[in-house]
Amino acid sequence: MNKIIASILIMCISVGSVLSQESESIYKRPFIDFGKTAVGGYLEANSNYFSEDGVSEGFSMEMRRFNIFLFSKISKRVKFLSELEFEHGTEEIALETAQLDFEFSPFLNFRAGIILPEIGLVNSNHDSPKWEIIDRPLSSTSIIPSTLSEVGFGLFGNLNSGNQFINYHLYATNGLQDGIILNEEGRTHIASGKSLKSFEEDNNGRLMYNAKISVKNNNFGEIGFSYYGGVYNTFALEGEVVSEERSLDLYAIDFVLPFGKGVLQGEMVNALIDVPSDIVEIYSSQQKGGFVDLVYPLYKKEMFGYQNSVINACVRYENLDYNMGTFKSTGTEIGDEVTAVVAGLSFRPTDGTIFRANYRHHLTTDILGNAPAIMGGFQVGFATYF
């Protein structure tokens, strides 16, 4: 840890200038004008019409999220940000963020509270109005369990030199818990490791660690490398060791690159999960996944009286392998994969508001690798900051 901090300080000295906290993605929300205190949020709803192997549940509408932000600039260099999420009405209410950012210098900030670990592209950048496709990428929800918010603390900072930008994050959190294995999915499911209890105390006294470094060039785009991991299981009860310590390690690469007038963005994530050897074929020890989004503006002019409105075309390819490896008994490859293609159009009358129409084609292969179940469907919806 000391070496990493020392390296960052050396980098800071070697570059010409630094960026302030405002360049962080979580502050890139329209309601924040860096006045004293601001209230904002976003709203997201859509319709669904899906069919799997010819069987459809018909048309339905979904009120996905109503999120309220509260921002306060306590002083020039001390900021507070929180996010309260209502998912599906009041089915799930969660305090997703409640963090304090304390600036020692622009390249050395302290962050504590309920934070969003920086892993992959989506977790700290998950606001629906920012995305052209209604569903979040599968790798960002099933392997990286977005939105992952945890009690923790750490450091972050930004540096720049001309066209080059470097952004780093280092955090320690209570981390994910036993649900990675003990869950209703019947497989290793990292998202099930989230637990409300972790806001009160850790399950095993071993923190998880998160690190990310991103490099951005104004001409070539941005690429980020991130890690999240640590011991997830309850290995001791009342001080008595009842199990081996079992760890989770997530490694991700994400990118946002210019593509003509459009943007190419995505992430790839590899997860290594230590599970007992007798269940490893059912509860996998390695998962991988990723997605690539291409967003391309088709029409960018005033429409319906909205200046700078834009119609975008978008396409996503995503693949997820929940269970990498082969069966010991047969030597054949284990299945349990999902591949999906999503295509759509979006209309942004303003920066913070988007209307979206998507078609999703989704193939799910079971653990034995049998012929996939094919799902297809349409979604139409909107999302807006307020």
């Binding site: 007798d278 074929e281 008994s329 047969t330 078609y359 049998n370």
Partner: protein, 408 residues
């Protein structure tokens, strides 16, 4: 111009959404699927079927009783898509002969079945050191069970008599087993001094589907039920190790829905039935003598489920035990069934087996054969004469035989 472009875009979107139905994935052909109800169920029965379907796919968690030891966490874990099992879920029965020559299922040491997986800090079971007899199995396809369950015992006894009269070496027998306490005799059953004819399981050791479901819940998933309230125990650790979930972990409502689901899963439809090679293959199948055990047609007795009542169906089994020779002898006894004796497995669904086994067919009781040719050649014992006939077939005739089997 701007308005025209926007209008054009809107028209395209309306066109796309109005053609939703034609773009969406279509259902696979009914003859290629097996997880469907039999025809003729009432709406209430269909609702019961769907509830059973959901339970069959349900993944059980440690909080629901998936501990301390298990083989799979759901019925569909072994019977993927209701189909035949895969070797990665192979289960092992164990036992030994005692000093009096009686077979001991070693219930006091965790028998009759090994649960080699565990979760939540429990330890998996291991085979007892003093176990001497073992039998590996893969899960059977679960379709058409209600039809098999509705054949009366007298039909099976008639088949025994018929086979014995033909004096050709094929001598099927029924497996008389002592039923569980919860067994309720029906009109189809014949009491033989408290013993009844088994028809489910690889060695016909289960009289009813209820027996089979209760056994599988406990021995495969580690779940206690109203019908069997004791957790499987890992005797390597202690004689009273159990999970922290109150028993029974599932009630009779769950068990009954699972039984109803299995009773009302349809039997598979034939495919390519009119192809000449399939027709020729069927004749070869009959001429070889395969039909003596793999009996083509059975008829159900009256049933309280009208859709199962008095139905003629084609399972290609006699539900009887046959000696299959040394190569298939596992030296593991179940009731009257000796090591080399196996219940004739129904051949329906054979052509769809590899669709649920990851694209490779794993045949016979433990999946040891990966082709029809291997599976047939491993038949011995009472089938020895039939195998001679098989070996005399030309390659073309064998191809037709396989075509017929794959049409089932």
């Amino acid at each position: 111009m701007k308005q025209i472009n926007i209008l054009l875009l809107l028209v395209i979107m309306v066109f796309i959404f109005s053609s939703c139905e034609s773009i969406l994935p279509k259902a696979p052909d009914s003859s290629d699927t097996i997880a469907e109800p039999i025809e003729g169920l009432t709406p209430h029965q269909l609702a019961f079927f769907m509830e059973g379907d959901e339970l069959f796919a349900k993944i059980f968690t440690p909080d629901e009783g998936l501990v301390p030891i298990f083989i799979q966490n759901a019925c569909e874990g072994c019977h993927v898509g209701d189909g035949k099992g895969h070797p990665f879920n192979k289960l092992t029965r164990f036992g030994k002969y005692d000093e009096d020559g009686n077979f001991d299922y070693m219930l006091d040491q965790g028998g009759p079945q090994l649960q080699h997986r565990s979760i939540n800090n429990y330890l998996p079971e291991v085979l007892p050191e003093n176990a001497t007899h073992f039998s590996d199995r893969i899960a059977p396809i679960v379709i058409g069970m209600g039809l098999l369950a509705s054949v009366d015992d007298q039909t099976l006894l008639d088949l025994v008599e018929l086979q014995n009269n033909e004096m050709d070496g094929i001598t099927g027998k029924v497996n008389y087993v002592l039923p569980n306490d919860f067994f309720l005799s029906e009109d189809i059953h014949i009491d033989s001094s408290g013993y009844y004819i088994g028809r489910f399981g690889k060695k016909a050791s289960k009289v009813t589907l209820l027996d089979q479901v209760v056994f599988a819940l406990k021995q495969d998933i580690g779940l206690t039920s109203d019908f069997d309230t004791e957790d499987p125990i890992n005797y390597v650790i202690a004689s009273n190790t159990s999970d922290g979930v109150p028993d029974p972990e599932v009630g009779s409502d769950v068990v009954n829905r699972l039984v109803f689901y299995m009773r009302t899963l349809k039997s598979p439809s034939r495919r390519n039935e009119t192809d000449q090679s399939v027709i020729d293959g069927e004749q070869i199948f009959k001429d070889m003598g395969c039909v003596k055990c793999h009996v083509q047609t059975l008829t159900t007795a009256s049933s309280e489920i009208e859709a199962l009542s008095n139905k003629v169906f084609h399972p290609y089994t006699d539900l009887l035990l046959h000696d299959m020779g040394m190569s298939l002898n596992d030296n593991y006894r179940e009731g009257n069934a000796k090591g080399g004796e196996w219940r004739t497995p129904p051949l329906w669904g054979l052509g769809l087996a590899d669709d649920s086994q990851g694209g490779i067919g794993y045949y016979l009781h433990d999946g040891r054969a990966t082709s029809l040719e291997q599976a047939i050649e491993m038949h011995g014992g009472e089938a020895a004469g039939v195998i001679v006939n098989y070996n005399n077939l030309s390659d073309e005739e064998k191809g037709k035989l396989y075509a017929f089997l794959m049409s089932l």
